[in-house]
């Protein structure tokens, strides 16, 4: 356990060793603001809530989070430090989860820094703060899902650009799998079970359910299963590469 904590600390600190972390946070906050106020027409809505703020999170995360997760493993491979990491007496799960939790903590920090929006709506009106808290949690779980997918795909390659691109594509597929755009393609010929299964894999559907203000256990279980599944897949891939020697 203390080894897990040591890894989380090292990884988390490494985000702040370069100005990149600050650039990332600033750009993320700006993009968030632009999306909420311009695309979401927050002022025109005349409502003191954060619906239009959370609405864009899946699409912002789609590009921002693969930028964090791409380096998790690809950079270690390129740098050679993976050889150091994997020959220390540490269980593989501690390395995989340690790296993941550090990435999650960093994106959580970026998310937490959006708090002025929350303060603003409370100043302007009286929003349902319960819904807002639920939405923040939902947003964090969504981020967790994207990062787990990204961690797994980063373990496949030593090239960060490739890791980024395939992560964006994979996250996009997981996001839109419940959208009419996708489901209409299957509707009419595929059995309903398949369509339901496909729709149930959509991060967007589960995220929307939570930001609606209801934390349903099924949505939480979905996110935790997805995250757990992709982290276990990360472990399998890293372990497999030990056998291949790549």
């Amino acid at each position: 356990m203390s080894q897990l904590w040591t890894i989380i600390r090292r990884e988390f600190a490494s985000y702040f060793s370069t100005p990149l972390a600050f650039v990332f946070i600033v750009v993320f906050l700006l993009a968030n603001g632009l999306a909420t106020f311009y695309l979401g027409e927050w002022f025109a809505m005349g409502q003191a809530d954060l619906t239009s703020f959370f609405m864009f999170h899946p699409w912002l995360y789609l590009f921002f989070l693969p930028a964090i997760s791409m380096r998790l493993w690809a950079e270690e491979r390129r740098n050679g430090s993976i050889e150091l990491l994997l020959t220390l007496p540490v269980p593989l799960w501690a390395i995989v989860f340690g790296k993941y939790f550090a990435a999650l903590a960093f994106s959580g920090l970026a998310l937490a820094l959006t708090f002025p929006v929350w303060i603003s709506v409370n100043y302007l009106g009286s929003p349902d703060n319960g819904v807002i808290i639920a939405s923040y949690l939902g947003s964090l779980m969504l981020a967790g899902g994207y990062l787990a997918i990204g961690s797994c795909l980063s373990a496949l390659t030593r090239n960060q650009v490739i890791a980024f691109v395939i992560s964006v594509v994979a996250c996009f597929l997981f996001t839109v799998s419940g959208a009419p755009l996708v489901l209409d393609v299957f509707r009419g010929w595929a059995p309903q079970v398949l369509i339901n299964t496909l729709a149930s894999f959509s991060l967007l559907t589960h995220f929307r359910a939570i930001t609606g203000g209801v934390i349903d256990l099924r949505d939480v279980v979905f996110f935790l299963t997805l995250i757990g599944g992709f982290l276990v897949a990360t472990m399998v891939i890293v372990d497999m590469k030990k056998g291949e020697g790549a």
Partner: protein
């Protein structure tokens, strides 16, 4: 301390390491020699648990690296090729991380770091990010990381590669200091290094051991072993050649480097023992009053052995890969 048993590693159709077995005891420094691509690094990666062997295994202090990797890795210090580290960390942060992950408490970690930093002389750069350090310092940071927990077994992949002569000397000195109570494997393609620090040496080529023994025993397999070499002015060469050829049952080999020439006298078919040959050559020099710059009874040349053993043509089946 280190036992390697029938280690095999295949990458697809290519056999990188083919049935390698050897043992290194505590107090021994094993030098791993071989041309690039011979399988040195691959072997080390398997011994340290970074790669899984296709077959066979290695034991560190009696613990099987494949069955109990963590227990084995606790006893092990490893300097991977190129001494990788996290470039954004300082050596202090880096070593703190390593000691913490190896389970040291604060006072023990401090003592261990002081020791490792002392041996690798890192005091001056402890708080500079690793990517701003020179190659020599980076190598020493890697070395400090490998020895910080005072392991019984040390595996180092080209510890002196890319260092200047002074830095090489320092790293070798650090290895010699530790050698007495550790089992050490180093890989290198610098032959002088084997003479300088290794108690044992092994030449591998295409994944197989082609020669093994103490450095002097290996050198003795050289065709120069037992020959008498004399260095003299190139001007004297014609005269010397004529007279040296008169010694019965000998053959000459001449190597001219500008004004200096080395003449090696070989006894053919062991007809003459080495000291008798030396005496004859000395007598001749005395009679002729040549000014000889150097005269030596050859103890063998490691580079010659290395070249002979690792320059065999590849079998045609492997030529494609």
């Amino acid at each position: 301390m280190i036992e390697v048993e029938n280690l095999v590693k295949k990458f697809g159709d290519f056999t990188a390491v083919n049935n390698l077995s050897f043992a290194v005891e505590s107090g021994q420094v094993m030098g791993f020699l071989g041309p690039n691509g011979a399988g040195k690094s691959t072997t080390m990666k398997m011994i340290t648990g970074f790669l899984r062997p296709t077959a066979g295994t290695a034991r560190i202090a009696g613990i099987d690296i494949c069955e109990q990797p963590m227990a084995a890795q606790t006893q092990l210090g490893y300097l991977p090729e190129g001494a990788p580290a996290w470039p954004d960390m300082t050596p202090r942060q880096f070593l703190e991380f390593i000691t913490r992950i190896r389970g040291f408490d604060k006072p023990a970690a401090r003592a261990a770091m002081t020791r490792a930093v002392g041996m690798t002389e890192l005091h001056g750069v402890l708080d500079q990010p690793i990517d701003t350090l020179s190659k020599g310092y980076r190598r020493r940071v890697g070395l400090a990381q490998a020895i910080v927990h005072d392991p019984d077994v040390l595996v180092m992949d080209e510890p002196t590669d890319g260092l200047d002569p002074n830095q090489k000397f320092q790293v070798r000195q650090a290895i010699e200091e530790m050698a007495a109570h550790k089992a050490i494997i180093i890989s290198t393609h610098i032959l002088e290094e084997v003479d300088a620090i290794c108690s044992h040496a092994m030449i591998i080529d295409r994944g197989e051991i082609v020669a093994e023994g103490t450095p002097s025993a290996l050198a003795a397999r050289s065709r120069f072993f037992g020959a008498v070499s004399l260095t003299l002015d190139t001007q004297l060469l014609g005269q010397a050649q004529a007279l040296l050829q008169n010694i019965a049952n000998t053959r000459l080999e001449v190597l001219t480097r500008g004004v200096e020439t080395v003449v090696s006298v070989f006894a053919e078919n062991d007809s003459l023992d080495a000291s008798a040959l030396l005496t004859q050559v000395q007598t001749l020099i005395g009679q002729q009053d040549w000014s000889v710059r150097a005269l030596a009874l050859e103890t063998g040349r490691l580079d010659d052995v290395f070249g002979t053993l690792t320059r065999k043509p590849r079998p045609s089946t492997e030529a494609a890969s």
